[in-house]
Symmetry: C2
């Protein structure tokens, strides 16, 4: 189907891999699945009982992609349930994300509740971008819920980023790791004006030799407020490393409340967090190259969030 300019523009921002109506894909527009395609190894099935889709990924899938972006260009609340069934041995990249284009005066909200059932020996990359634009005064809200069950010997990479424009977000992540399962999380978050962001992430290292590496980077500008609450629970011989770095600007406020909980003698968990202002030396250096204050700041922030 042909997409209008607003939809295409938003898609360009939220799908960094490039959204095409090819292979396995599903585009949800204003609360409706408007187009979808399957591939040989990936089937997308509309749920019968509620809004959302089931995505079945075969163990035959190797280096394949599935794109399931959501665009909201009309006001309203959209709650959707997507379940991923990833078979043993699959190797897949899932590109999700939600973009809001808000021109109205009432709320535009998307709550994506995603559950991943990952088999053994699989390799899954899940990329999720959140973004909002438009001059409407109505709040642009995204409340994603992500539940991930990672099977034995599987690797799950979660890249989540909220680029800009989202007035309010409450992010819930719940992850369970089986034997030898590995989790890599990269979280990037920028808030500005009077935006608020809450990010909760609970990682249960249940299996022997499971491991988690979580890196969270955030920038808070204006009078925005951010709260991070990552939690690593070691129930077995396991390794976890959580690192949260934040830059605070203007009148913003950042709270970082990492929790490490060792319930096993061989659980090894490390956490590091730092909140500070933008690096003045870098700022000065860039300004000697002729950049103005705003440009220099933008370069540093972009680099920090890279």
């Amino acid at each position: 189907m042909e997409l209008n300019k607003v939809t295409q523009d938003v898609l360009n921002v939220i799908d960094s891999y490039g959204f095409k109506q090819e292979g396995a894909y599903n585009l949800r527009l204003n609360g409706m699945a408007v187009c979808h395609g399957d591939s040989r190894h990936i089937q997308i099935v509309k749920k019968a009982d509620k809004a959302g889709i089931d995505i079945h990924i075969s163990g035959e899938a190797k280096d394949e992609q599935v794109h399931i972006p959501v665009v909201m260009s009309k006001e309203g609340i959209d709650v959707v349930y997507n379940d991923f069934y990833i078979e043993d041995g699959a190797d897949v990249t899932i590109v999700a994300g939600c973009g809001i284009h808000g021109e109205g005066c009432s709320e535009t909200r998307h709550d994506g509740i995603h559950t991943f059932h990952v088999g053994k020996n699989a390799n899954v990359k899940y990329v999720e971008n959140h973004y909002a634009q438009g001059n409407g005064t109505g709040k642009k809200v995204l409340n994603p819920v992500t539940k991930i069950y990672v099977g034995e010997n599987s690797v799950f990479t979660l890249e989540t980023s909220q680029i800009k424009g989202v007035d309010s977000t409450e992010r819930e992540n719940y992850i369970e790791l089986a034997e030898n399962a590995k989790l890599f999380v990269t979280e990037k978050l920028m808030t500005h004006e009077d935006q608020t962001a809450v990010s909760n992430m609970d990682v249960y290292l249940n299996g022997e030799n499971s491991s988690a590496r979580i890196v969270s980077r955030s920038v808070a500008k204006g009078t925005s407020r951010q709260v991070f609450h990552p939690k690593a629970i070691g129930n077995n011989l396991c390794h976890a490393h959580i690192q949260c770095d934040s830059i605070i600007m203007d009148e913003a406020e950042i709270s970082s409340i990492p929790e490490i909980n060792a319930r096993h003698i061989d659980a090894q968990i490390i956490h590091e967090a730092a909140i500070g202002r933008i690096n003045d030396e870098q700022l000065t250096k860039l300004r000697t190259f002729g950049l103005n204050a705003e440009e220099a700041e933008a370069v540093i922030i972009e680099n920090f969030l890279k």
Copy 2:
């Protein structure tokens, strides 16, 4: 007054500076202030309205000490309120601490609620040791509450340690720092058997150029449970560094939930936490010197908590 052997033994453990009935001191035994002395610059006044004492420390005090240990060798609950008024420019070391000798089958509990009002340009060191012994089946419980208000340009050093034998502890610390005030905290905690320990510490960096350095080290053995919740709130140009390191042994559980909260662009707050098992290499090395497993473990733990 003459002290019996049990009291003296407990005092030897909890007062590492050596308790003497000289200078400024107050000994509380089984819920009663049994002896006390003032010094030229330090006056101890019994409270009229409730259990406890007011300790007035003059700005003339230089490199002086005051000892206010508590010993409980009888079952029961003792709640005591001690208030410290420390004048501008005072330089003092306050040695507190509580030791329980429990032989009975009902609870022995001491709740010491200490409040420190520290003036400007003062230097205060507060040393607090908690310890319990005795074969009684009654729970030995210590719930200290410590509130500290540190004035401009003052330095407050808090050394708190729970050595052994305490079945249950809930520690509450609340600290406010004014302009240029500096806080140094060293917390040491060891739990064994089925003991539980909760340690909450809220540090408000309110004044410009205030700083806090918090180091917490703990060892959990047996089936003991520890929860740490240090919190640094930066309300001004300030620096805070929190470091929590824990060794987990046997079937123990440790939870570390540090919270860093920057509410000012020039608040710079760093946190590091690590939970892991005892260092195997060190263990092996010590055993090659002829130490058995238990001895080697004891040496490593002692070093870690030093």
